[in-house]
Amino acid sequence: MTFTLPKRTRILWQIRILIAFAALGAAVAFFARYANWLLFLAAIIVIFGLVFVITYVPFFFKSYKIMIDKSSICITKGILIKTTNIMPFPRLVFAQSFTTPLSSILKLKCVMLKAARGWILIPELKSTDVDYLLENLMVKRND
């Protein structure tokens, strides 16, 4: 079974990254009273953030593939550097879900799969999918 991340996850991360860049730009602009060129730097930071959010982020989240078979879960991601994480089910110790105020508005949850001294993070999925995944991972592990 293969599935990709929902569109809402991309929107969520775009909002988060934009807020982060805006906050950084605002912090730099605050100190512009001491040096005028800092205002220019703040503008560059915000523009860079916008470009990053519009160009790189959609492709990055589109590259995510989550494959679940009988014996393991496999997550592939990345544009420039492709990474594949494989976790065999017998090595799974427990699963933990996280939700923030913003992600709960969009009805999304992220999942962390924990193995001995290692973990895999699955970015935000639909809450119903996460609950289904948590239940079925335990069943698959026992199988």
Binding site: V93, F94, T99, K114, A115, A116, R117, M138
Partner: protein
Amino acid sequence: MTNKVYKAHPIMLFRIIKPFLFVLFIPLIRAIIQYITKGEINGLLALEILCVVFISTITVLRWRSISLNVEQEKITIKKGFLIKSCAVIEFSRISSVIVQQNIVDYVFGSVECSINTEAGMPKKSDFCFKLRKNDAKQFYEQIYGEENRETIKFSPFQIAILAATTSSAFTGMIVGVPILNQASDLLGVAISEMLLNEINHVSSKFNNIFPPIVNTVTLILLIAYFFAFMISFVKNINFKLESGKETAEVQSGFITRKRILFKKSKINNICFEQTPLMRVVKKYSMIASVGGYGNARGEKAVVVPIASHDELEKHFKRHFKHFKPHGKPIKPKKSLFNLNRFLFLPAITALFIIGVSASIVIIFPYFDKLTLFLTVIALALDGYYASVCFNNYKNGQLCLSDSVLISGSAGFNVRKLYCDKSNIGVIKISQTLPDRRFKTCKVKITVRSESADSARVKNLDLNTVLQIIKKQFNIEYDV
């Protein structure tokens, strides 16, 4: 099994608020007292009150959000107010549950309950909460069930021997020096300087061939050792082992009482360990390595603190017999030549020490007494190492079956390690030039666990070792 939901004890509020106690709350209390007594208002009082109200609100919301839901064969742990987390853990994946109660917990009827799995960070519990005492009892009974357990108690004398043989001056200094410094700061008295002066005064009264600095250092080490001994003794007094068919519980502690519960199936390996000081009194301790043990050092549960080897074997056969291997053990050949091989390295080391000491005395005659002192220490250590090598010759063995036994040493400790074959991480077979000549080898087995316990045996017949490994692990290629 009925579902049950456990909520955190109100004392958890203080635990959550602890980082802000000295930064916000105590300055605010001081400001309020100042206002009441002197009528003076601090310029930042309004801001402090606002911060305290904000932090307190977040703290209460965080406390309220903590819940443990025990269902059929799994627990669901929910916590968090802004960032909510929900962890689902099966009973079979829980390594151990630690329940601790200090004086404050005792007054408020709470306990600190830590849940550990193999996925946690080293030396840190996965989940740690304050629960009501009765809730914690029900909680671990739901996970581990209720079974009849045999209680094994140990006398204060045995605990004292354990404390004496496992304490070190280094540990005493690591723990004692910060306490001394903090006490000095609190009292405004230079306790460290006073203590050092007193030590110098006492050590100067000893007239011997060694220089005065040696007496001072020896006294400091003895005091640090005594301090470590007292800590270990108080920590382990009331030590009790409760062993059932499937579960084990270790209780210890006097001021802070601690209970550690784990399933016997979660034990990675059992070690009979003998430290240098234990070797003097011919005692051993039995230690179980439990997966994801939590915040204890090196995830080891002391199961039998101190006993003779025979008593330990009795306990082992009674409570952990599933670790006992079957089959014929491989032992080093008993001959004078082989004994000489075992004692070769200590002998060479002794000659080297004497040679270096003689050279130093000749080159730096002013330091002759200090050199003599250090030479005595080095030769004593070498003598101990020779006794460990002799023990390896006499008692060394390797037994590979569904369970594994390797009896040898690990550093300066004599160790006998039992584990399940499936828990073996690495088997290392190495040969020095003499080993290649005499077709022998050194075998080191490391257990797959956080503490990575290992033991090694020297001078075993190579062909026999390879045959047994190939048979046990179904290796088809030639090694």
